[in-house]
């Protein structure tokens, strides 16, 4: 071996230094060029398939704090979002398309009698701590859901006719689920299943403490994830920070591992106005929920400046609703009982409300007239062929006259033959601007008809108590479907249901038409023939529109305000409208 000597020794470091210097100059020049050249996609949405979209931090908001990270026992927006970020489903219903998608169960088979599903789990899936995900985790999750000591809020959505599903695991990759009877939505029921890690929480379940597990005081390091992110920081009153889960199982079409984002920060901003200001100031990329109608005009200038996109999500599936108390005992001693619970009275009210004016006043033009609980925002189940009550004060007056309601004295109000005034008290939800404005419209539109409406605004809790105890005459509130398939919301439709708001929890149907709806709901819930289900539900909507136990006037168009640096959006009308698919969202970095 020859060792370099003399000038060679001095020349080598100089050459190395020159190479380094040239390299450094080239690097700085390249960085300068890349930072100053115009972005060809400035202001346009980034497509998720581009590999350049990897990385970055998304900043969104939460209007309330999580009470627990345990989705089994807690159903609230923060807990739901936590669960979306850190969980995965066996099979999910795509919130934008309503199509079934294979998730942790990569395929499944159905028995000929439609009572048994055999799910095959994906290979190589692990929890964020590296523990393999197996069928034992699925069986354990069902045990936790059905354990009465847990008091899981998922249990009712995973019961059919009050009976649980029977879940077994013949091997680590296979789960067999037997239904007590056929179920119309089919495998979509598994979208309600949330998964818990057996290796972490088995001891808690055995000790009867699973309900207390995953509390907000749990150190983030102790929380395991099987979703796109894992919680790394929770600062009460301030924010939650989620970092990318490097062990997440899902990849995009080009083989890039999801999620694209490195981090998601959810700032806790309890006030909706403050939340909007933060979006305007660029401190948030998006809001937790849709933009209020009254805020759309505020955000338009920012859209014109190219700082924000106002994305129209479509027509909301959750219209405001107005209903009377239809419990007979409530009106037994009331002189108004002869007409106030009659369907004709409600039909007259429906005729008397100008839905176009309602949309313009309440939703500032961003609303669509509706005639029933299913809106065009739910095209799969919406039926346009239902009785409609067009705006006609004259027709309304005729109907009321048919009920014996005429103006018999000098005041502007109608009276029945016994002299009882046509008047009722409408309780409305204080704090929701559309409900408050809607209640004022109802009062004002019924006044020329001769019906007096006393509007009382109550806090949500007080209103709900009045609703549950049946201590009200009429209520104006908000519909909140958690699932667009009516079979998943039987409590609203069935006369025995706890959300059958006009007459809650009947031991047997109080009216013939409610019995008819109960029978048709049996088909919607049990038939596996989708055409038969749809026909039965169309009939339900017809009966509903004729008897009008609940009146619907307008449903809003939904808009989301999003920073132009955010891409990969798949908007849904269901909450959370954008974050439901956070794994495919992207941000332009350096903005």
């Amino acid at each position: 071996m020859d060792w370099p000597t003399g000038q060679d020794v001095n020349r080598q470091p100089r050459a190395l230094l020159s190479v380094l210097l040239i390299g450094a100059i080239a690097f700085v020049g390249w960085r300068y060029w890349t930072s100053t050249r115009p972005d060809p996609e400035e202001g346009t949405e980034i497509r998720v398939s581009e590999s350049s979209t990897r990385g970055g931090t998304l900043r969104s908001s939460l209007r309330s704090e999580p009470k627990s990270f345990n989705r089994f026992v807690e159903r609230s927006v923060p807990t739901d979002i936590y669960s979306l970020f850190t969980g995965s489903k066996l099979i999910r219903v795509n919130r934008a398309t309503q199509e079934i998608e294979a998730e942790l169960a990569e395929r499944w088979t159905t028995s000929p009698d439609n009572l048994t599903y055999t799910l095959t789990l994906r290979d190589g899936v692990t929890w964020s701590d590296g523990t393999p995900f197996t069928s034992a985790d699925v069986v354990f999750s069902f045990q936790a859901i059905y354990d009465p000591k847990v008091g899981s809020q998922l249990a009712s959505s995973l019961m059919i006719d009050g009976k649980p599903l029977v879940v077994t695991a013949p091997d680590p990759k296979t789960v067999v689920i037997k239904l007590p009877q056929t179920f119309g939505p089919g495998v979509a029921i598994f979208d309600n299943v949330h998964l818990a890690a057996k290796h972490k929480y088995e001891a808690a379940l055995k000790a009867g403490k699973f309900g207390e597990a995953l509390g907000v005081q749990t150190p983030p390091a102790d929380l395991v994830s099987i979703g796109p992110f894992k919680l790394t920081t929770y600062t009460p009153g301030q924010r939650l920070i989620f970092d990318r889960n490097p062990r997440y199982w899902k990849k995009d079409a080009t083989g890039i591992q999801l999620p694209y984002l490195d981090q998601v920060i959810l700032e806790i901003v309890p006030d909706q106005n403050a939340e909007l200001v933060r979006l305007q100031a660029g401190q948030l990329d998006m809001l937790q929920q849709q933009v209020r109608s009254e805020d759309i005009a505020t955000l338009r200038p920012l859209e014109q400046q190219g700082k924000l996109k106002l994305i129209e999500l479509g027509v909301s599936a959750d219209p405001d609703l107005f209903f009377f108390n239809l419990r007979s005992p409530y009106w037994a001693k009331d002189p108004r009982r002869d007409w106030i619970t009659r369907k004709e009275f409600r039909q007259a009210i429906s005729h008397a409300i100008d839905r176009e004016a309602f949309a313009n006043t309440v939703f500032l033009g961003a609303g669509v007239p509706v005639w029933g609980p299913m809106t065009p925002g739910n095209p799969k189940w919406f039926s346009p062929n239902v009785p409609r009550y067009g705006y006609s004060v004259e027709r309304a007056k005729e109907i009321l006259a048919g009920l014996g309601l005429r103006n018999r004295d000098a005041d502007p109000w109608l009276e029945d033959p016994k002299g009882t005034e046509a008047r009722f008290t409408l309780i409305a939800y204080r704090g929701n601007s559309s409900v408050e404005r809607g209640s004022a419209i109802i009062r004002d539109e019924l006044k020329p008809l001769g019906i007096a409406v006393d509007v009382v605004l109550l806090e949500q809790g007080a209103l709900i108590e009045r609703l549950q105890t049946g201590d009200f005459e009429a209520i104006n509130f908000i519909q909140n479907w958690t699932n667009l398939d009516p079979a998943m919301s039987p409590d609203f439709w069935l006369s025995s249901g706890s959300a059958h708001i006009w007459n809650i929890g009947q031991s047997k149907p109080a009216t013939d038409w409610e019995k008819e709806i109960d029978d048709l709901m049996g088909i919607v819930m049990r038939s596996v023939d989708q055409a038969e289900r749809k026909k039965a539900f169309d009939d339900i909507q017809k009966i509903f529109a004729e008897h009008l136990p609940v009146l619907y006037f307008v449903t809003p168009r939904l808009y989301m305000g999003v920073s132009t640096r955010v891409g990969g959006l798949t908007p849904s009308i269901l909450r959370p409208q954008l974050l439901w698919n956070v794994e495919r969202m992207t941000v332009k970095q350096g903005q």
């Binding site: 009465p148 920081t233 009460p236 009153g237 924010r239 106005n273 706890s498």
Partner: protein, 321 residues
């Protein structure tokens, strides 16, 4: 003095007890409790299970006695809303509120007292300008003031429009964290300080104007003491009596949290906590927040009484008599 202190402490304890008990009982008997609000999205069985789990099915007297026995052990119960012990929540939020209140009080004092001395001892356009500004400051409710400041911050980008720290806070050094906090503090602190500064200015102005006509001030002037020295040395300490009396109430109000400012500026303090607790009818948290607010009010009053005794010899002599 010791007996005086003991009396004031006993009064403070009684205040805290009465206020927190009243808050507990009123929240409990008001229609639409926490569980009722949750039950709107639950089935009947789930609702029943939740009621049982949170002990909401127990009679009022039983709940109250259980809560009181907990208080003796410094256990304020568990928050329904946050799923955490109320004591820990109050401690965390009280620190944030204390930071904000201290800065707001310093701002208010630094602005209000000098302006009050100036307007109370001078005439002309300067005095008139200060008075007009004070009247504006007094007339603007904290909600409007904080919204205006938030709007200004959003438009100019000079200050963050809300929050206590920025989201990068978790990766900062202590010095960076303090600098970040210092950027977030001025907006809510000013929103709180402006009306207080206006109040202090008005009170200080009138008090010093009145004190400057006292004979001992005239005597000092006759002895050849210059005007400014005479005002600051002789008139100002006497004029502080009504001002310090107000400080007690201000300290109490500030430290118990100004929910309007805290909600608008997303400051995670006691006011915001109380607001959320009241909206959700979180029984134990409402009672805990009320107790903390009453404690701060009593402490503020006590501190102002002590300051008054320290600064005004007439109070001390009255106490001895």
């Amino acid at each position: 003095m010791g007996r005086y202190l003991l009396t004031r402490l006993a009064f403070a304890l009684l205040l805290v007890y009465v206020v927190s008990s009243a808050a507990f009982i009123l929240t409990r008997i008001a229609p639409g409790g926490y569980v009722d609000q949750q039950c709107v999205t639950l089935t009947a069985d789930e609702c029943k299970a939740l009621r049982l789990r949170l002990g909401a099915d127990r009679p009022l007297a039983e709940q109250y006695l259980s809560w009181m026995s907990g208080i003796i052990r410094l256990d304020f119960g568990q928050s329904f809303l946050y799923g955490r012990p109320v004591g820990a929540l109050l401690r965390d939020r009280a620190i944030n509120t204390a930071m904000l209140a201290t800065i707001a009080l310093l701002f208010a004092t630094a602005i209000g007292i000098p302006l009050g001395i100036y307007s109370g001892t001078n005439h002309g356009i300067g005095r008139a300008t200060v008075r007009v500004l004070s009247v504006i400051g007094l007339s603007v409710p904290p909600l409007i003031g904080s919204l205006a400041l938030v709007f200004l911050a959003a438009r100019t980008g000079w200050l963050p429009v809300g929050g206590m720290t920025s989201s990068a806070g978790v990766e900062m050094t202590w010095a960076q964290w303090l600098a970040d906090l210092a950027r977030h503090l001025p907006l809510p602190a000013l929103a709180l300080a402006i009306p207080m500064a206006a109040t202090l200015e008005r009170l200080q102005s009138e008090a010093i104007e009145s004190a400057s006509h006292e004979s001992f001030v005239a005597a000092s002037r006759a002895r050849g003491v210059d005007r400014m020295r005479s005002i600051l040395r002789h008139a100002w300490p006497v004029s502080l009596r009504p001002v310090l009396g107000l400080y007690g109430v201000m300290i109490g109000t500030l430290f118990s949290g100004s929910f309007v400012v805290e909600v608008v500026t997303s400051w995670p303090g006691l006011g915001q906590l109380m607001f959320a607790a009241l909206r959700a009818r979180d029984l134990f948290l409402v009672a805990g927040c009320a107790a903390t607010g009453a404690f701060f009010l009593a402490a503020g009053t006590l501190i102002s009484d002590l300051l008054l005794a320290y600064t005004d010899p007439r109070v001390r002599s009255g106490e001895r008599a």
